[in-house]
């Protein structure tokens, strides 16, 4: 299936190659570079490129292109999903998935890739199994290793691979047994010029951090499970129980993982927590324009809207911006033409406002479109859909765990058209 993998950085250097079958020459990447050049923007590099002998399937993550070489028919999503899983694993192991991190840990990377694929077919992709096979590097361990000459490779062989619960390793022990659940909801919305909602939807995830000894069997129930319209599960969840009782019953993996992601049914009206008043105009033939944006809270259920950031991709003709912000600070990058305004917390008494003059290139025609405003915000202790965890029960172990649930609402792809 997957023949080879090349990691390429933004400047076009191949800094790692791995072959699972016979060796494929680096020159195959030339087709990729060609496509990359054509695409202008990194985001527009086609994920699938056909070359005379091979197919290249690539993903772009954290400024690295993961380019895989394929020789025969394979579902492209299979490869894409796997490459993302590789990137996730690097992230998990090294804390970041960057060129330096990979170069610094090239041996571990190689060992990981070796375990993750056999003859191009995924073998072990569960991070718990991998961590038993190859221990992630820590500062302490690298010090110890350099002194004792011991290694990162686990000397006990993992049993998880053989069990029915491959996501959990055996013999987990903690002194403090804790289970935390973060209910994170994101509002995706498109607001049109006049302020009415074109499209709004709530997407949520429950991220868990479970540090429980032994083999706990958890069940998590909600006050209002009917809210969840479309759910995707971590493999640990027993689908049958969800179908029949709407209870999440599972033996959790150890550590951090995403339990479920869900979409709230579209029947429910989405409460939009902020509104934006905007006035952006460019004068004909005068090489300047006005920019005036105010953000205010709306239907926030008594919670403060914080972490507000507005980013705007200004038209190419914009040369510079002279603005004054009543709150927070703004930056304008004249190269990428991105205006970013870090507002912070919104207090209803004094609404944050950003106002000023836009300088255009002289002679350039007036931009036809006003730029869209992308808004980010955060509301703590609130799940905007109203989803509430009812209770968490643990079976199978005797101790009493510490349980915690946190709610947070964020802006997802929240866009205001102007």
């Amino acid at each position: 299936m997957i023949h080879s993998l090349f990691l390429i950085n933004c400047s076009g250097d191949i800094f790692l190659e791995k072959h699972w079958k016979s060796v494929v020459s680096q020159s195959v990447c030339d087709y990729f570079f060609e496509a990359q050049e054509k695409a202008i923007d990194v985001e527009n590099v086609p994920p699938v490129i056909s070359t005379p002998l091979h197919y290249l399937i690539s993903i772009y993550r954290d400024k690295i292109f993961f380019v895989s070489v394929i020789q025969t028919e394979v579902p492209p999503l299979f490869v894409i999903e796997f490459l993302h899983r590789v990137a996730d694993t690097f992230q998990d192991y090294f804390g970041e998935c960057s060129e330096t991190a990979i170069k610094d840990n090239v041996v571990i990377v190689y060992e990981l890739l070796e375990e993750m694929l056999d003859n191009g077919f995924p073998l072990a992709t569960e991070s718990n199994i991998l961590k038993e096979l190859i221990k992630p590097p820590t500062i302490l361990r690298s010090v110890v290793n350099s002194i004792t000459g011991s290694s990162n490779v686990g000397d006990t062989l993992p049993t998880g691979q053989l069990s029915n619960i491959p996501w959990r390793r055996a013999g987990v022990k903690y002194t403090n047994n804790e289970a935390y659940f973060d209910v994170i909801e994101e509002i995706d919305a498109i607001i049109d010029k006049s302020g009415s909602t074109v499209f709004a939807e709530i997407q949520g995830v429950i991220d868990s951090c479970i540090k429980l000894s032994g083999m706990p069997d958890l069940s998590l129930s909600f006050m209002n499970p009917r809210l969840l319209d479309d759910v995707s599960f971590h493999p640990c969840i027993r689908f049958k129980r969800w179908e029949s009782e709407r209870v999440l019953s599972f033996i959790p993996p150890d550590g951090n993982f995403r339990l479920i992601s869900y979409r709230v049914s579209s029947q429910n009206l989405v409460a939009i927590p902020v509104y934006v008043k905007h006035l952006i105009s460019f004068k004909e033939n005068s090489s300047s324009g006005r920019f005036d944006v105010t953000i205010g809270p709306k239907q926030n259920m008594g919670k403060t809207v914080e972490g507000v950031v507005m980013t705007v991709h200004m038209p190419k003709a914009v040369l510079n911006m002279n603005l004054t912000a009543t709150q927070g600070s703004y930056t304008f990058d004249p190269v990428t033409k991105v205006l970013a305004w870090d507002v912070g917390k919104i207090t209803p008494q004094k609404l944050p406002n950003l106002k000023g003059i836009v300088n255009l290139q002289s002679g350039a025609p007036k931009p036809e479109e006003n730029p869209s405003l992308n808004i980010q915000f955060k509301i703590q202790q609130l799940a905007i859909s109203g989803l509430k965890v009812n209770r968490l029960d643990m079976y199978g172990e005797k101790y009493k765990p510490f349980k915690g649930v946190k709610y947070i609402t964020k802006a997802g792809k929240f866009q205001v058209r102007t």
Partner: protein
């Protein structure tokens, strides 16, 4: 960068070695170091006897490989370390070896013996990794070794090793495709494996080696469907894709009937694509011939079992299920996939890209499916262009009369985007909407005309192109719009737009005969001030008018051409000269003049506005080929539905009694046992092959009511199996009816059978009449209970139980019955003193318990668990064993000598002509903790003789199979015994109070509760007790309540309690609770008991 850490690391390493080493450092770390030198250094480190140095060296070498640098000259130095004790060094050496073995084949052979040794290691993970590396070394010489290793690993008792074997198959195949036939054998064997670990990998191997051998799937189809949800995610993708293809060859199209109705309705609404009409026509024709369609239950099974996977977190799995539904599900059901696909749009942009491509194709065929999610395809300014364009495609496909106004409003926003490629695509999309939906055509045209004044040339050009296309399609309305556009020439200043309008007027000048010359007049006036492209179009217009309407435009044309002749731009001068020669007849102008009209006013074909995704669905969705819209290497064509369904009975699998049930529907749910995968037990495929196609479809439809529709031909094709079953039931009833002396006997061989046939028939009475004469089933029915043919003369009536079911006697525990049964010359295991007296007493008491509660008229032999119908399993088939057939059963007696072992009674029959000598067990391969107490070696077994022995196995309370070899003086047979979970325990007696107390301790996690419905025949006390005790070796616990049944047992190895409570509620409803600290056992037990009760 590789140099600097290496430098540092080496320092660390060398400091331990001493000063001399240190001296090398500057050279090796420096930029001027020659490769030669550095490698020397590495070689030295590899040769040292310190693991830490070796490790450093290997790390540096692996870093070199990762960089793509050549490290092949180190091969000899590295390969020496293949047997290194240090596990990390070893691993890195493997990495190196796999990379370079191909280039240094001779040297690579040095390492082979290490792996061969590894293949024999008692640790399964080491065996697996040895096989993995061995099979990854691409050296053709070792093909035979690999083949051997794969074959051996395929029958390894560890599923993990078997999985690795499956992975090795395609590797070997790519190395040497001549091995195909042998590999297919291995694949066939592994396909029968029932562990989830193996399933995905073997199907992957199947797809790479022999995707055309669809016949290998038949027997495993139901198993694969049932296992699917538990297979790891990557395996799921492969299996689902394969099953899609399989289903296309084996089942009938579920849409053959509805499609006609639906599509015509759809057409009426939207006036949809012509393709539908084609389909409808074809289907109408075929419909006339066809009977009403009923879905094959196996088809339904696939759809049902894949549906939950739409909830997977893995996008590839979701996509695989989506394509399966798209290609296989009835139209009405395809809708479920939309929601899941829309969810994937939140994922990474690459995932979005692929998903949108597939959604685009689907939305052409099944528009209704995505309509509710229209807004999810709205475009954000931050989307990458390629995503925007795909979303636009989907939006366009979804447009219909009801939502077009919303969509057009969206499009208006998009048109003002900064991304000009996207704007161009939007204009195209508007054009397509306008052609598809007549209502909005004018609105769209007007909107597009306005766009002609856009400043951006791309937008203008695109608009003109689209307008032009629209105009070409509806000639009737030409003049109005062209007139309108002619007026625009006064206002529009964008040269591109002016040029485009002039082209249009020229092209359709005969539709606007009055205006065209006037436009030319105006243009002639301003000619000198126009942009170059406009000038060119003015010349074109003039030429066209001259040809059609020379009277009015002759002078104007002359004027324009004269102006152009002196233009500054040479292109224009050139064009003017060219046109003058062409259109104005002179003496010199040659033959071309005659054709001028044809040249200029040729009919230009109307461009077709249709989706580029239109016919893509002939590629399997989700495939690479679909994405590229070209056949990729190794793409397996998705076959068309067959006109008539192939024989569905090929998927039938012989299942033991406890999983058998009369209704096909239920039967197919059962997971088959690999023991019975031999074809011998199959119902003859001939029966249904004879039956007419109609009966086929009817049969498949009758799944829910198989018993009732006796009038249809279904009954016939229901296999003899079914009849036999009925027969048996009757028989059983009879047995129950009057106390009979049921004495088991076996038919050792065919000759024997013949000799005794009469007796059998006499004895068995009417029930012997029916087709048990089928030799195959006869042979199979040879049971372990009778030791030889010598007892055939006994008075005891013989009951030949069909196939592998057998009433076997027990010499213990049942005080009265023994005497009857003992008439057999049964050779029980040497009567051993029972180690724990409690066991015997408990089983006794529980038996009595059972007796008191059940109908006394029933034969006691059937009542107590210890004497219930004990199933026998085949250990070695007569064919595989070259005449030696071996069967086993769980006698449910404590194993003498070791209370932690499960007693397995083994019945060996010698069907050969020769004596078999020194039969024994050897080389058991067991999971950690498992133990085997072998039976004493059988010195010899005469031809036709049967021997019965008992061996003990400590399964460690797991259902993992015990693998061992059965050796004769000539041969070795690999066999394995896998216990049903119910056999891993022994009955315990306890009082009601004790039971309650113990149950109280085993709540929460240890308690598994399942609801079930009791079928008609399982609603008596007797039936329930019997079914439960036959499914598991448990003892009855008295209970005060009327409708509650309690059973207790202890697992054999660890002695953990297993408590079973069955509460019978109103009507058929019942609830089963199992309490056991062994969760796995509890879960499996619940499953087994429910299965037993559901029969």
């Amino acid at each position: 960068m590789a140099a600097s850490p290496a430098y540092g690391e080496e320092k660390g390493g060398s400091s331990s070695l001493g000063e001399p080493e240190y001296g090398h450092d500057p050279a090796s770390g420096g930029i001027f170091a020659s490769d030669y030198k550095r490698h020397d250094d590495l070689k030295e480190m590899l040769d040292s006897n310190k693991d830490s140095l070796k490790l450093e060296a290997m790390k540096r070498i692996v870093a070199m490989i990762a960089w793509g640098k050549n490290a092949s000259d180190l091969f000899p130095a590295v390969v020496k370390n293949v047997a290194c004790k240090n596990i990390e060094v070893k691993k890195l050496v493997y990495v190196y070896l796999v990379r370079y073995a191909e280039e240094q084949q001779d040297l690579a052979l040095l390492s082979i013996s290490t792996f061969q040794r590894g293949l024999k290691d008692p640790n399964q993970l080491i065996r697996a990794s040895a096989l993995r590396v061995l099979s990854s070394i691409r050296v053709p010489i070792i093909v035979p070794i690999m083949m051997l290793a794969i074959k051996e690993a395929a029958s390894d008792m560890s599923p993990y090793v078997r999985k690795t074997a499956a992975h090795a198959i395609p590797k070997l195949y790519s190395l040497d495709s001549d091995q195909k036939d042998q590999l297919i054998e291995v694949i066939e064997k592994l396909l029968a494996d029932k562990t989830t670990l193996v399933a995905g990998s073997v199907v992957m191997a199947f797809e790479e080696v022999c995707p055309e051998r669809i016949d290998l799937i038949h027997k495993n189809y139901r198993k694969l469907c049932n296992l699917l949800i538990d297979v790891e995610e990557w395996g799921q993708v492969v299996i689902i894709n394969m099953l899609t293809r399989y289903a296309r060859t084996q089942f009938l199209s579920p849409n053959q009937n509805e499609s006609l109705l639906e599509e015509s309705a759809e057409k009426a609404f939207y006036g949809s694509e012509e393709e539908d009409t084609k389909d409808a026509k074809a289907e109408a024709a075929s419909l006339a011939k066809r009977k009403p369609y009923v879905m094959d239950p196996d088809h339904r099974l696939l759809l049902r079992n894949t549906k939950p996977l739409l909830q997977s977190r893995n996008a590839a799995v979701v996509m695989a299920v989506a394509q399966l539904y798209f290609h296989l599900a009835p139209k009405a059901e395809v809708g479920v996939i939309a929601k899941a696909l829309v969810r994937l749009l939140r994922s990474h942009s690459e995932v979005q890209y692929v998903v949108l491509q597939n959604v685009a194709t689907m939305s052409i065929k099944r528009r209704g499916m995505f309509e509710p999610y229209l807004k999810s395809f709205y475009i954000r300014s931050t989307d990458p262009t390629q995503i925007k364009i795909l979303k636009l495609e989907v939006l366009t496909n979804l447009a219909n009369e009801t939502n077009i106004s919303t969509i057009l409003r969206e499009f208006q926003t998009y048109i003002r985007s900064m991304d000009k490629d996207f704007v161009a695509a939007t204009i195209q999309a508007i054009g397509r909407c306008a052609t598809n939906i007549g209502k909005v055509r004018d609105t769209c045209l007007n909107g597009l005309v306005q766009l002609l004044s856009n400043r951006d040339e791309l937008v203008v050009a695109e608009s003109v192109v689209v307008i032009k296309k629209l105009l070409q399609m509806q000639p009737a309305q030409h003049s109005e719009i062209i007139k309108h556009m002619a007026k625009l020439t006064d206002n529009i200043q964008v040269p591109m737009a002016r040029a485009s309008i002039l082209w249009l007027i020229g092209e359709y000048c005969e539709h606007v005969p009055k205006i065209a010359p006037d436009v030319l007049r105006k243009m002639a006036k301003s000619f000198t001030n126009e942009e170059d492209i406009v000038k060119l179009q003015v010349i074109n217009l003039a030429a066209k008018l001259y040809l059609t309407n020379s009277k009015q435009s002759k002078l104007l044309t002359q004027y324009v051409l004269n102006l152009a002749k002196y233009d500054q731009n040479y292109d224009i001068r050139d064009r003017a000269r060219f046109i003058r020669q062409l259109i104005v007849p002179t003496e010199k102008s040659g033959a071309l003049n005659k054709y001028a009209k044809k040249l200029f006013l040729a009919q230009k074909p109307a461009p077709i506005l249709e989706s580029s995704f239109k016919d893509r669905d002939h590629f399997q969705l989700g495939s690479l080929s679909h994405l590229l819209n070209a056949k990729a290497v190794g793409y397996q064509e998705l076959p068309d539905w067959p006109d008539e369904a192939p024989d569905p009975s090929v998927r039938n699998v012989e299942v033991p009694e406890w999983t058998k049930c009369t209704s096909r529907e239920k039967r197919k749910d059962k997971v088959e046992k690999p023991f019975y995968s031999d074809s011998e037990g199959e119902s003859g495929p001939t029966e249904s092959a004879d039956s007419e196609p109609e009966s086929d479809s009817e049969e498949s439809g009758s799944s829910s009511s198989s018993g009732t529709s006796s009038s249809s031909s279904e009954e016939q094709s229901e296999d003899k199996e079914g009849e036999e079953e009925e027969e048996e039931k009757r028989k059983k009833k009879k047995e129950k009816g009057g106390p009979r002396k049921a004495s088991p006997r076996s038919v050792g061989s065919e000759e024997e059978e013949e000799a005794e046939g009469k007796k059998v028939k006499k004895a068995a009475g009417p029930q012997g009449k029916k087709g048990h004469a089928e030799t195959s089933s006869e042979e199979a029915s040879a049971s372990e209970s009778s030791s030889s043919g010598s007892d055939s003369g006994t008075e005891a009536p013989t009951v030949v139980e069909a196939k592998r079911r057998k009433v076997i006697p027990s010499s213990k525990a049942g005080p009265k019955e023994i005497s009857l049964l003992d008439l057999d010359d049964f050779t029980p295991p040497p009567p051993q003193p029972v180690p724990s007296s409690s066991i015997i007493s408990t089983s006794l008491v529980t038996d009595l318990e059972g007796l008191t509660l059940t109908d006394t008229s029933l034969a006691p032999a059937l009542l107590s668990p210890a004497f219930g119908a004990v199933r026998t399993y085949e250990l070695l088939h007569r064919m595989a064993g070259e005449g030696l057939s071996v069967e086993y059963c769980f006698s449910r007696r404590p194993f003498p000598g070791d209370p932690h072992m499960v007693a397995v009674q083994i019945q060996i029959s010698n069907n050969t002509d020769a004596e078999v000598k020194s039969l024994r067990v050897s080389e058991p391969k067991l999971l950690a903790g498992m133990r085997i107490q072998e039976f004493p070696e059988i010195e010899s077994l005469a031809p036709g003789d049967t021997a019965s022995v008992v061996m003990g196995i400590d399964f460690c309370d797991s259902t993992q199979a015990a693998n061992f070899q059965l050796c004769t003086h000539t041969r070795h047979f690999y066999v394995s015994i896998q216990p049903p979970v119910g056999e891993l325990m022994a009955p315990v007696f306890m009082s009601e109070n004790e039971f309650r107390k113990e149950q109280g301790k085993l709540t929460g996690m240890s308690e598994i509760t399942e609801k079930l419905t009791l079928p008609e025949k399982c609603r008596s006390d007797h039936a329930i007790v019997q079914q439960v005790t036959s499914a598991a070796n448990v003892g009855r616990v008295p209970c005060g309540a009327d409708n509650e049944y309690r059973f207790a047992a202890k697992t054999v190895t660890s002695g953990s309690l297993v408590l079973i409570t069955l509460e019978w509620r109103e009507g058929a409803a019942a609830q089963l609770t199992v309490n056991s600290e062994k969760m796995v056992i509890g879960t499996m037990l619940v499953k087994d008991i429910i299965q037993a009760l559901a029969q």
